[in-house]
């Protein structure tokens, strides 16, 4: 085919385009994903029993704040990365800040506790459930956001995939936080941080396959 003919074809009857499309698709996918994560938690796990007591709230707020901040950072970065060349405009270092902050808090909490408590503080009572639930619940947000990203044109697929994984894992963690009764900061740092990092890694690996265009 002659290139002239292709250009002729492409420019014939060209429709005006909605330039805010990619951002809006991502926003819709993100909203649906958070709802899906909360819904899955309600269906499969139920909220923690002591939610009505004020004592449950500081830890819940910490978990939601940690994961929520990651959602905001990941989706903001993703909004740029889904546009060609957008990876050059994003800094990944800022994504590490919430992890670093919660790690520091965890070390602080361990430092002021007797070492005989450390094991219980780090492992909690349900670390295995956390390890399994967060990546599992993350599958639905991951699929939803992947669909939105596929409508756009990321040119760094591993990075785009990683950000999708990070956002999906964090959304899942927000949902799981309403169920989880392990309230120590070291637990949140290790098992929330760890599972979210795991989801990110899965995204990095899957991105080039799922997001190619």
């Amino acid at each position: 085919v002659k290139t002239d003919k292709l250009i002729e074809m492409l420019s014939t009857g060209v429709e005006p385009i909605d330039r805010r499309g990619p951002s809006r698709m991502l926003a819709v996918a993100a909203a649906m994903s958070v709802i899906a994560a909360l819904g899955l938690m309600l269906l499969a796990l139920r909220t923690r029993q002591d939610l009505v007591h004020a004592a449950a709230w500081p830890s819940l707020v910490l978990k939601v704040l940690f994961a929520g901040l990651l959602i905001v950072l990941a989706m903001t970065a993703l909004g740029k990365v889904v546009r060609p060349g957008g990876e050059a405009k994003t800094s990944l270092a800022v994504l590490g800040l919430p992890f670093a902050a919660v790690m520091l808090l965890a070390i602080g909490a361990l430092a002021v506790s007797p070492s005989s408590h450390w094991r219980a503080m780090v492992l909690g009572s349900q670390w295995l459930e956390c390890l399994i639930s967060i990546p599992l619940i993350a599958v639905v947000p991951f699929a939803l956001i992947t669909c939105a990203v596929r409508q756009a044109a990321p040119t760094n697929l591993a990075r785009a995939g990683g950000l999708v994984g990070l956002a999906a894992g964090s959304m899942s963690a927000v949902g799981y936080a309403f169920h989880c009764t392990d309230d120590t900061i070291p637990f949140v740092a290790l098992w929330y941080g760890g599972t979210i990092a795991l989801c990110t890694l899965a995204g990095v690996k899957l991105g080039p396959r799922l997001l190619r265009w």
């Binding site: 292709l6 060609p84 190619r212």
Partner: protein, 175 residues
Amino acid sequence: MLAGLGGDAAAYRTLLDRLSRHLRAYFNRRLSRAGRSGSEAEDLVQETLLAIHTSRHTYDPSEPLTPWAHAIARYKLIDYFRRTRAIGAQVPLEESAAIVAENDDQAGAESSLDLDTLLGQLPDKMQRAIRCVKIEGLSVAEAAQRCGMSESAVKVNVHRGLKALSRAVAGRSQA
């Protein structure tokens, strides 16, 4: 680009035409550096033009156009090297300004792509919508009447069809 995105066909045509020359020079240089033949360049030019068209909604008008187009061209080149298994092919992140500095005007350059065959592999509705609107040049309203679809269905089918076409072009020549 802005006028083209707004639906001005003549402006859009001029834009694609200018971009195609820069793309041709870019791919020729990159391919010859990788020891590939020049005939592959035209395939890549067309593949990239299709990609630019189907992802034109990802262009942010507050940003310059060149880095955006360059990122697509570079992505398509890397993807091409990867699927044709050129191991060790390096595509340096050169300054995106370099892409506009070059110009290669071969009017009527031809690729090995067989658009008709590729078009024939699309679902029937998409084929008809694309033929009416993009090849015969009918308006959306006329095409809607001819194909017995609603106007929005015609638009959706043209859009999805071109995307599918772009995917088919990117998926071809796996060897």
